[in-house]
């Protein structure tokens, strides 16, 4: 089912949590709402679910206006950040809840409920835990139960609020892959909120980058990563270096004037011993930091305390054999130029 968000506005006192947001989510896609805290992404998700009302605008499910319909009637699956599992119910009863509260006429029989819940627990690979209570589960297990519970009511839309936020790094990576796989199997239109760019890039079909209540850019992971619409998106999706207008102007990269700023991702900076051409800049190696598979080299460009960080693979680093204090040449591989009135 597709979701259309039209001119949605949400005000908390004097603070505009969402400022005229419009967005279309095509049917069957897995979409990430990505942004820093306070960007309005969770508010947007809760408005889609019907857990909060907007102050203006409409939400359409498959072209039908749902703005006025109650959360109960929207048939959405919602996975809460802290799972919100019913602590007094077993895992089985948690998953069965959505079926048990149906009106008698549409309520499945006990055996149907049992079959359905068992199937869902198998889907999330936790059948053996059916009789446990939420307090006896690990974070990752709770997350999967929360997901099974949301899926039990056969929602048209699945909404996940920071689904991996409260988990440790390893479980997080594992669940991420698992969610992607699950989505490929069941193809339900899904929206998840995250502040982790890596998570969004890995899992989502489409990324919606949000900032200060507005959508900065919406597109496939490749689009937003390769062609960021503005410095905010660029900066939010990876480490970047700023080159102020003057420097690169001399090298012919910027010809629009002094107000432009160039941005180069740290892994797009090449370090050379001898300058290949005139685009290379002279720099001094100030600091070398080894971070697992990669090495971060801090360089001082042209000796005027204009620091740049380059990220190299270990191989490249070893081949270069860089030393602290050494003079080298730096060449940006891919430069993005934005006019400077934009604040990061």
């Amino acid at each position: 089912m597709s979701i259309e968000i039209e001119h949605v506005h949400k005000q908390f006192g004097t603070f505009a949590a969402l400022n005229d947001v419009s967005l279309t989510i095509p049917s069957g896609e897995l979409v990430a709402l990505l942004g820093p805290s306070g960007s309005g992404k969770t508010t947007l998700l809760r408005i889609i679910a019907g857990l909060e009302s907007s102050d203006g605008g409409r939400i359409l499910f498959n072209g039908t206006d749902t703005t006025e319909s109650h959360v109960r009637e929207r048939k959405v699956g919602f996975v809460f950040q802290h799972y919100a599992l019913f602590r007094h119910m077993t895992v089985f009863e948690n998953v069965a809840f959505g079926l048990r509260v149906r009106p008698r006429a549409t309520r499945p029989s006990n055996s149907e409920i049992k079959a359905k819940v068992t199937e869902l627990l198998r889907l999330v690979q936790l059948e053996v835990l059916a009789e446990r209570y939420p307090a006896q589960l690990s974070g990752g297990q709770r997350q999967r139960i929360a997901l099974a519970r949301a899926l039990a009511v056969e929602p048209q839309v699945l909404l996940l609020d920071e689904p991996f936020g409260a988990l440790d790094a390893q479980v997080r990576a594992e669940l991420r892959r698992w969610l992607r796989k699950l989505h490929d199997e069941i193809h339900i239109t899904s929206v998840f909120v995250t502040h982790d760019q890596e998570e969004a890039l890995e899992v989502a079909d489409r990324i919606v980058v949000m900032n200060k209540g507005k959508i900065e850019q919406s597109g496939t992971p490749d689009q937003v990563y390769e062609h960021p619409a503005n410095p905010f998106v660029l900066n939010f999706l990876g480490d970047v270096n700023l080159f102020h207008g003057r420097i690169l102007q001399a090298n012919g990269h910027v010809d629009t004037g002094e107000n432009a700023v160039s941005y180069v991702r740290s892994h797009d900076i090449e370090i050379e011993r001898t300058p290949l051409d005139s685009t290379a800049l002279q720099a001094v190696v100030k600091h070398i930091q080894k971070l697992g598979p990669s090495v971060r080299v801090t360089l001082d460009i042209a000796g005027n305390n204009d620091f740049v960080e380059a990220e190299l693979t270990r191989d490249v680093f070893h081949n270069l054999g860089l030393q602290h204090g050494e003079r080298v040449y730096v060449r940006p591989r891919q430069v993005r130029v934005f006019v400077e009135d934009y604040q990061i």
Binding site: A49, F78, R87, H88, M89, V153
Partner: protein, 285 residues
Amino acid sequence: MSIAKASSDNRYTQTEPFFVRWFLIAVALIFLTLFLLLPLGAVFSQAFEKGLTVYLDALKEPDTLSSIKLTLITAAVAVPLNLFFGVTAAWAIAKFNFIGKNLLLTLIDLPFSVSPVISGLIYVLIFGLQGWMGPWLQEHDIKIVFAVPGIILATIFVTFPFVARELIPLMESQGKEEEEAALVLGATGLQTFFRVTLPNIKWGIIYGVILCNARAMGEFGAVSVVSGHIRGMTNTVPLHVEILYNEYNYTAAFAVASLLAFLALITLAIKTIAEWKVRQQLNNN
């Protein structure tokens, strides 16, 4: 285990010298014995002073039985009303935000800070013969003050905050995510309340109700003002104790008082269990 051993869970690495610990424990225990244990023991010792037969006879006396009946009726009206109020108020206050919330909280606590005597007096001023509604009530032959309704009203007043006061912080700490989850899953408002909210506040309710009940059955000052002290008619158990005591019928007075002391002990036991359960529930959050 030696007396005055520092905390066995070793949380407290810093503690006082052995003699200081021992001294403080002794002071605390002597103080509590003098003030709490001794009176408690005295109730039962006085009650059984002249043997079990006299004790049972005192309880079987018709005026005693009618006072027990009145006390039970009073509690049976006051406690459910205040329970219903407590749950409703806690729902509004803990799950929603609105302007004036703090004022409302203060007003709910008000009956605790009013002297019991005043709690009774206010109803006399409204429903008494010289009161606002007095003449009208007399015309229609309705008796509130110096009758059972007055006793019940005064009891409701003094036990008013118990359940609400216990539930509000508990429900606030539990947040509203579970209720939201239930609604998203298609539950109706009532289903959400009975299947999700209620099980989570069960022990909080028990705690509030047991304290509310103890106070309802034991209230003396407020009830004394509105009762009129008619033997066998408008005497609750505590008032009956007073009458027996003032008639120098000590054994009977303590026999009846022992019922209330027994109630207090049961209350403390249930309260301790409920407290433990609530704490456990909060730790699971």
